[in-house]
Amino acid sequence: MWSSERFRNIVYQIALLSLVGALIGYAAYNLVHNLESRAIAIGFSYLGQEAGFDVSETLIDYEPTHSYARAFVVGLLNTLFVSAVAIVAASVLGLVVGIGRLSPNWLLRKLAGAYVESVRNVPLILQLLLWYGVLTELLPPVAEAIVLGSAFLSQRGISLPWPTPHAGWWAALLGLFLAVLFAFLWARAVRRRRERAGRAPAVLWPSLAAGVVLPLAGWAVFGAPSELSTPAMTGFGFEGGKTVSPEFIALFLGLSVYTAAFIAEIVRGGILSVSRGQSDAAEALGLSRGQRLRLVILPQALRVMIPPLTSQYLNLTKNSSLAVAIGYPDLVSISNTTLNQTGQAIEAITLMMAVYLAVSLAISGLMNWYNHRVRLVER
């Protein structure tokens, strides 16, 4: 039996696996034992205790009397929120710059090139500190805020008029969502029609119309609220409206500008991977430059772009943890405070790692699903 290579391989692998398992087990045992012998409290029971500290930016209701677990969720939502908006912005900016790098226009090409080379070669933390420094040092204090209509720009960030909560606004939001759904379904129906009949109605105008009409209808049916809460200057800042903090703006700008440089290179690589003949053939068919890009080149380039794009999205999400340097209350910042108040370093860090892992796996799962959808289908 030992002479069989297959058998030996299995034995080796089992031996290796048990060795690794034993080592992990020993390390874990050692950890718990050492912590206990040094009277360091262990366990996750601290999550239920009252947090006792306040958080300046929250997406859900939060008070210092709430638990550490709730504070953790507040931080997680802040991380997810800034990552989500930065991913969208970085993708759009990256696409534009990436296409710009291949533009026949000399100036545009060089500008895009300069952007990519300068931004991706400077560490992100420095860029974040720069954005934050620019925002806090150059913007005027509250009393001398720059007034833009009923919005204010100051060291406290941007304060905007914001709708006061009302069913009508939610209905309008729902209308917008329905319009997007309609546009999606309409485009699909039109494409089928075109494939069958050769001719088809337009896509753009009905979709735009739906985008205007549906939210308006929702808004009108549910009482047509017109009340906006406008920011008003008080002693230390602005009351009412919505204030976007300089920490959030700096983090958002830093993350999207930095990641966009990498995405631009991915876009450029993707486009270059589509052979010249494709674009020549499309031109011969009489497609315009925009149509060639949109209908022929980008769909094929996408297949090459998705995997590296996934890792950029993951990087962006993980990089958002640098927020702690500029005072944005993200997951790491809140976990740090928790860690310091409770002294439960191992638990807090384990929890943080587990959550980042879960978020990253979710993003990567989503991107893999999309990748599967856009891959080359042999017909």
Partner: protein, 341 residues
């Protein structure tokens, strides 16, 4: 090939974990003596407590404590290795054994004393949390209640965030905390005007202001919202080291009480008829023996940094802070060394 490499890394990481888990089982004192240096966790830069001076050497009242201990245990105040730590890193550094003790303006409270595997030998500096504002930008703010709804810069990893929230709740105020990692970032954000106020221990505010060219623009508000007894912090499970750490504090304070200074300590040892001085300097009694040290332990500590009052004069007075609570008990303060016997 690739697999093998990854495996190597995993094994290396695991062995590290195991080694780190069992390396420091012995008492801290043995390790210090064997090594010949005291590893002291200090602040990265807090004038008056621990900050590099003009010659690049660490100086401050927290640093003096490290020096006094090293002189008592190892015979020389130079046998200290300083590990600068942020508020955030300090407890892990102590728990993991990276440092022998933490002498870094750390507040003594119940949680740190009971659930973090640590002990506090005694208070080295009585402090309290205060707020500072830029009175040029906010001329109307005279007291803490005037700061209602203001943005306040705080450093993470300290007791200040919670104290502030507690105070706000008790007094029906609200503050918007802007939390930074590291004292420099926090102070910079406050100075740029991002926050209306900055809160930390009163001594920390004084240390910041002393380094600012336009310090007259700033006003420290009168309210002290918390008790911050700053104390050295040790790991548990080393009673010998704990006793030395505790009695070094008392010895330096007793020296002030008995009029023993850096300059006169040798003369006092030879000439003084005061029994307290004789026991302190090891002329009589067996305090050193009880601590596992020789008779001259306190003399060396005093030669290194002087008595508590001298250290205070040298380090804290330049910040513009008065002795206040940190005066000796018979001078209206809280410093009360237990009797040397």
């Amino acid at each position: 090939m690739f697999k093998q490499k990854t495996l190597c890394h995993c094994l290396a990481a695991l062995t590290l974990g195991v080694a780190a888990g069992s390396a420091f089982a012995g008492p801290t004192l043995d390790a210090i003596k064997q090594r010949g240096t005291l590893v002291c966790g200090v602040h990265t830069g807090l004038t008056g407590f621990s900050a590099p001076d003009k010659t690049g050497k660490y100086a401050g009242i927290d640093v003096d404590y490290c020096k006094a201990l090293a002189a008592a245990i190892l015979g020389s105040a130079d046998k200290v290795k300083y590990v600068p730590l942020t508020a955030q890193q300090r407890f892990t550094a102590l728990q993991s054994g990276e440092i022998d003790l933490l002498s870094r303006n750390t507040t003594w409270n119940s949680k740190r004393d009971t659930t973090m595997g640590s002990v506090f030998p005694g208070v080295w500096f009585y402090d309290g949390q205060a707020f500072v504002i830029n009175s040029k930008k906010n001329p109307k703010v005279k007291k803490l209640a005037d700061l209602n709804k203001a943005s306040v810069c705080v450093e993470t990893g300290t007791t200040t965030e919670r104290n502030m929230a507690d105070y706000a709740r008790a007094n029906k105020l609200s503050f918007k905390p802007v939390v930074f990692e590291g004292q420099e970032a926090t102070e910079k954000a406050f100075q740029s005007g991002r926050c209306d106020a900055y809160t930390t221990d009163a001594s920390g505010i004084a240390a910041m202001l002393v380094n600012l060219p336009n310090r007259s623009d700033y006003t420290v508000l009168p309210e002290i919202i918390s008790k911050e007894p700053l104390a050295p912090m040790l790991r548990r499970n080393d009673q010998e080291f704990f006793a030395i750490a505790r009695w070094t504090i008392f010895a330096l304070q007793q020296a002030e009480e008995s009029g023993v200074t850096q300059a006169n300590v040798l003369r006092m040892k030879a000439e003084s008829k005061d029994p307290a001085v004789q026991r302190l300097t090891g002329a009589t009694g067996e305090i050193g023996k009880g601590l596992g040290l020789d008779a001259d332990w306190a003399v060396r500590a005093l030669q290194a940094v002087g008595n508590y009052g001298e250290s205070f004069e040298r380090n804290i007075k330049p910040l513009g802070l008065a002795r206040g609570m940190n005066a000796l008990w018979n001078k209206g303060g809280l410093m009360y060394p237990m009797p040397l016997d």
